[in-house]
Structure formats: structure tokens, C-alpha cells
């Protein structure tokens, strides 16, 4: 029985356990979920020596304040994150992302905020202890599935570790999260439901990321997108990145915890290569869409995936 755990002194706004997500359950209404920004999830795990699909703590905006009990652990934080390590003698060290640090019993980790971004990742060697449903511990708060009964963490809870004592192999990497100028998309399956003017508006005007954005979806505000066919379709399967336009003309982008089926017309779909960057856009950010072709999207993903692998290889 592993005794080491983190005591949650402050839960943060949206702190959940996530891994690479849950496949093969869409048909019963369970979405993929998993870490929103997969690249940063992977980097934090590789830094502490984890190469398989293990549980990390994902936080958004304000992160948690955690106190380590009964263990010694190698940890890392990725994202654009301000955090402090408060040692058990109460000296405070400023935390640095993308490099490992060691936590001793009664050390605290104070994850203050993500900067100009939404999600950050906290990983420890051999992972945090998750509860597994369909081979994934990712939390989906809507269906109450995954670790912690499918809920966000709250104060005074404990997060157990899979291993109490780490091997201390310090690692670091130079990495900066790049901003994107355009969100690149492919034509959606209902592209022709929209007027020529609406398509022009969609690809030339700016949209603002709304406050009504969470792990399920990103709502956008801007010029209304006019539908000339029907504002409803027969409900059908969705995937992350789909941009639906309901009757009010304001686009909604489906994110990792999206409902598995939906009945609004799809104007576009965000390409896979841009997803990690998309989810990091904070409310108020202005974005523009750019239409590309499938072959280009596939090439861009190949490049993106190769970059990710190069980063992970550099860590070893």
C-alpha cells in the first residue's frame, strides 16, 4: 500500500486528473476527454521519466496548493505557469516550468496561475493514482466518470501517488509555447448551409473567445453567421474540433469533453495540428480562421507530431 499523498489545501478552479483519454466509448455517450493540451501533458510526464499513459493533474487559470505527505517525489510542471515551492522549513523557491524539482515530506507546491494560457500540467514520477474506467482515469465531470468520482478536486481531499520514493534524475528542456495567428480549419459537413456572405464573414472577421468556455466547448462571439438552409440537423456524432453554428449564429467549437452527438450544422473542423494551441486561448482572445485542404492538414499534423517527438527525445 502506497502511503504518499498530496493534501489539497486549495483546490484551484478546475483541477482534475487526466491522461491520454478514453477511446471506444462514444457510442454510449462517453467522450474521449483526456489532457486538453496533449503536448504539454506528454512533456511533463517525460521530464519525470514516465513514458506510459499515466495520470497527471491538469489545472486551469488558478491551480491548487498541495502539501506532500509521507513521500519524496520528482515532479515537473509544464505550460506557462507561475508557481512556488514552499519548503517544509517555509523557505519559498520560485518554480520553473519544464524542469524537474524534488519535493520532500511536508513541502508544498503552490500553483498560482497559468499566464496568458488556460491549462497547465503537474506530473510526478510513476504518476498520480487514478481510478480507471475503460482504461483511462480522465475525469469527465458531466458523466461523473473517471478519478475522484468524475469530479473536480475540492479542499482537504487527498491525491495518492503510485510510488512513494522517486529516483532523482533531474531533467530540463528549453521550450516555449507558441501562439498561433490563425486557427486552421477544414470545411465542415454542412458548409453549404451557410450563405456566401456568412462564409466570407467566418474567414475574414475576428471572433472573440467567450467566457462561456470550458473543457466541453469554446463559445465564440462576433458577427453572426447566417444559415440559409436549416439551423437544425438530425443529431449525429461529433468529434473534438467541430465548429457548430446554432440558430443564434455564434460558433461553438467542440472540445475534449463534448457531448458525443449534436444537432447543429457544422461549418468547419479545426485541424489536429492546431488543437493543443486552440485550447490554450483565454477568454477575450481574438482569433481568425483560415481554410485549408485535407492534404495540407495531414502534412501539418505530421510536422507537429514530429516536433513533439523531437522534444520528447531531447528529454532522454
Amino acid at each position: 500500500m502506497i502511503k504518499a499523498y498530496f493534501e489539497i489545501l486549495r483546490p484551484g478552479i478546475n483541477s482534475t486528473l487526466q491522461d491520454e483519454g478514453r477511446a471506444h466509448q462514444n457510442h454510449i455517450g462517453v467522450p474521449f476527454s483526456g489532457a486538453m493540451d496533449n503536448r504539454n501533458y506528454l512533456i511533463s510526464n517525460y521530464l519525470v521519466g514516465n513514458k506510459s499513459n499515466l495520470a497527471s493533474l491538469e489545472f486551469a487559470y488558478q491551480g491548487p496548493l498541495l502539501k506532500l505527505k509521507l513521500g519524496q517525489v520528482l515532479a515537473a510542471i509544464t505550460g506557462n505557469v507561475t508557481f512556488n515551492i514552499i519548503r517544509n522549513n517555509l523557505t519559498v523557491e520560485e518554480g520553473v516550468c519544464y524542469q524537474t524539482f524534488k519535493l520532500n515530506p511536508d513541502d508544498q507546491i503552490d500553483i498560482i496561475s497559468t499566464n496568458k494560457s488556460v491549462y497547465g500540467y503537474f506530473s510526478v514520477q510513476k504518476g498520480l493514482k487514478g481510478d480507471y474506467y475503460w482504461k483511462s482515469c480522465s475525469v469527465n465531470t458531466k458523466a461523473k466518470i473517471g478519478s475522484n468520482e468524475g469530479e473536480k478536486f475540492s479542499i482537504n481531499q487527498k491525491i495518492y501517488l503510485n510510488q512513494s520514493e522517486s529516483e532523482f534524475n533531474s531533467k530540463k528542456i528549453d521550450y516555449s509555447n507558441l501562439k498561433i495567428e490563425f486557427i486552421r480549419v477544414l470545411k465542415g459537413t454542412n458548409f453549404n448551409f451557410f450563405s456566401e456572405k456568412a462564409k466570407k464573414t467566418f474567414f475574414s472577421n475576428e471572433f472573440t473567445v467567450s467566457k462561456l468556455t470550458d473543457r466541453m466547448g469554446m463559445r465564440l462571439e462576433g458577427s453572426s453567421i447566417e444559415n440559409i438552409v436549416d439551423t437544425n440537423i438530425r443529431s449525429e456524432g461529433l468529434i473534438k474540433g467541430v465548429i457548430q453554428v446554432p440558430a443564434d449564429g455564434m460558433p461553438i467549437i467542440m472540445l475534449s469533453d463534448h457531448g458525443t452527438i449534436g444537432g447543429y450544422p457544422k461549418i468547419s473542423v479545426v485541424i489536429s495540428a492546431d488543437y493543443d494551441k486552440l485550447v490554450q486561448l483565454t477568454p477575450g482572445t481574438k482569433i481568425k480562421f483560415k481554410l485549408i485542404e485535407l492534404s495540407e492538414a495531414e502534412t501539418l499534423f505530421k510536422i507537429y507530431n514530429m516536433e513533439t517527438e523531437n522534444i520528447l527525445n531531447q528529454i532522454n
Binding site: H24, S235, E236, G237, I261, I271, F301
Partner: protein
């Protein structure tokens, strides 16, 4: 069979079976779904059947649109649709405290409450798909006499277990959720059980469902 396959983004296939919604077309989709599940094509991450579409998503590091499309077009289909077909019996309490929209239905349809319920309970329904929220079954077709649109303003919270009808369909809210269907009752049974990993949903695409009436005390004392 599949009328057209196009890409949905760069990591999914959108298989179109036409515009119509009926049991025959849906059964074909479910048969595709079951065959694809059985074949376990490398790289496929999700297969989502709906009334008249089938979405197949995949891991772009393992396969791409053209290659998967080729496999789907050339797949040999076994008749699996009937293999696991079953009839699920679902108890429903229609007490006032559960049937929020019965009076609205009665007024709009110009039909007595008893007539509406009689018509609803008289038919066996077919499960077209499950989803939106975990385990929610989309069933049909309800009698033409009792078809009505969604509420103009959806409820912020529909209680778990609620039985809703709209247009030609009915469903069961497996979790408390926002929703705009006309609520006519509530079931005490567990329609989705995450702890039962092999068979979490009580009702699956292709199954048939029969609702039957129970009274309030049966509802309150229900033991799954």
C-alpha cells in the same frame, strides 16, 4: 448502403446513409457499427452511430482518411444486427411530480392525459442510438397523435430518470442535464452503470424498449 463518405476534419470519416430516418436504415448503420467493432481496425478510436450517419474517428499518427476510407468501402459485412437484440422493460411513474409537461402536451395536442399515456405505453420502441450524455437512449417512433416539438425554452435542469418525448422520439435522461424534451414521467431504474464496464448501458442501439406504468410507492421502493 453507405451513400457517401467524406472527411469530418482530418481525423474522422463521415459516412452518410441518406436523409431519411427509419428503422431499416438505422439497423444497417448498427450492423456496420457492430462489424467495425468486431474487426478492430488499427487506429480507429471511436465509432459513433446515429439515426442516419456513422462517424468513425481515428488516431492520425496511425492511419489517415484515404487509407481508412478504403478499408471501410471494402469491408465484408456479417449480419450482426440481430445477434444481441433484446427487449428492455422500463418502469415509469407518471405522478404529477414527475410528469411536468403532460398538461402542456394535452393542451397543445388537444388530447386527454389518459389518451396520451395509453398511446405512449402501448407501443414498443426501437433504440436508434445512445449518447449526447452517457447512456441516453434515443428511441422511436412514438405515435403520430402524441408528437410535439421541444419546449421553446429548454429547462436548465431535467432530473435524472426523466422520460421525455419530442417529435417522433422518446428518451431517458440518464443524468441530470439541461434539456428541452416534453417530460411525461420518471423511471427508478439505473439506465447507465459506469461500474459495469462491459455493458454499462441498459439500452443499446438496436434494442427494443417497452415502458410500463408503476405507481408512486412502487417507484419509491424500487430496488435494481
Amino acid at each position: 448502403m453507405i451513400k457517401n463518405i467524406i472527411n469530418l476534419g482530418d481525423a474522422a470519416l463521415y459516412c452518410d446513409f441518406g436523409a431519411e430516418v427509419n428503422k431499416e436504415i438505422n439497423s444497417k448503420i448498427i450492423n456496420y457499427f457492430k462489424n467495425l467493432k468486431k474487426n478492430k481496425i488499427f487506429g480507429v478510436t471511436n465509432i459513433t452511430p446515429s439515426y442516419n450517419k456513422l462517424i468513425i474517428s481515428f488516431d492520425l499518427t496511425k492511419i489517415n482518411y484515404e487509407k481508412l476510407k478504403d478499408k471501410i468501402i471494402n469491408i465484408e459485412l456479417d449480419d450482426l444486427a440481430k445477434e444481441t437484440k433484446k427487449i428492455v422493460k422500463v418502469p415509469v411513474c407518471v405522478d404529477d411530480e414527475f410528469s411536468f409537461d403532460l398538461n402542456r402536451l394535452s393542451e397543445k395536442l388537444n388530447l386527454g392525459l389518459e389518451k396520451i399515456l395509453e398511446s405512449f405505453f402501448n407501443k414498443e420502441y426501437f433504440c436508434y442510438m445512445t449518447g449526447f450524455i452517457a447512456g441516453m437512449p434515443f428511441l422511436g417512433d412514438i405515435d403520430r397523435k402524441i408528437r410535439l416539438k421541444r419546449l421553446e425554452t429548454p429547462r436548465v435542469k431535467v432530473p435524472k430518470g426523466s422520460i421525455g418525448i419530442t417529435e417522433q422520439f422518446c428518451n431517458i435522461y440518464t443524468y441530470e442535464s439541461p434539456g428541452g424534451w416534453n417530460i411525461i414521467g420518471n423511471t427508478p431504474i439505473k439506465v447507465f452503470d459506469k461500474l459495469n464496464e462491459n455493458n454499462p448501458a441498459t439500452i443499446n442501439p438496436g434494442d427494443n424498449v417497452r415502458f410500463y406504468k408503476i405507481n408512486k410507492s412502487e417507484y419509491l421502493n424500487w430496488n435494481d
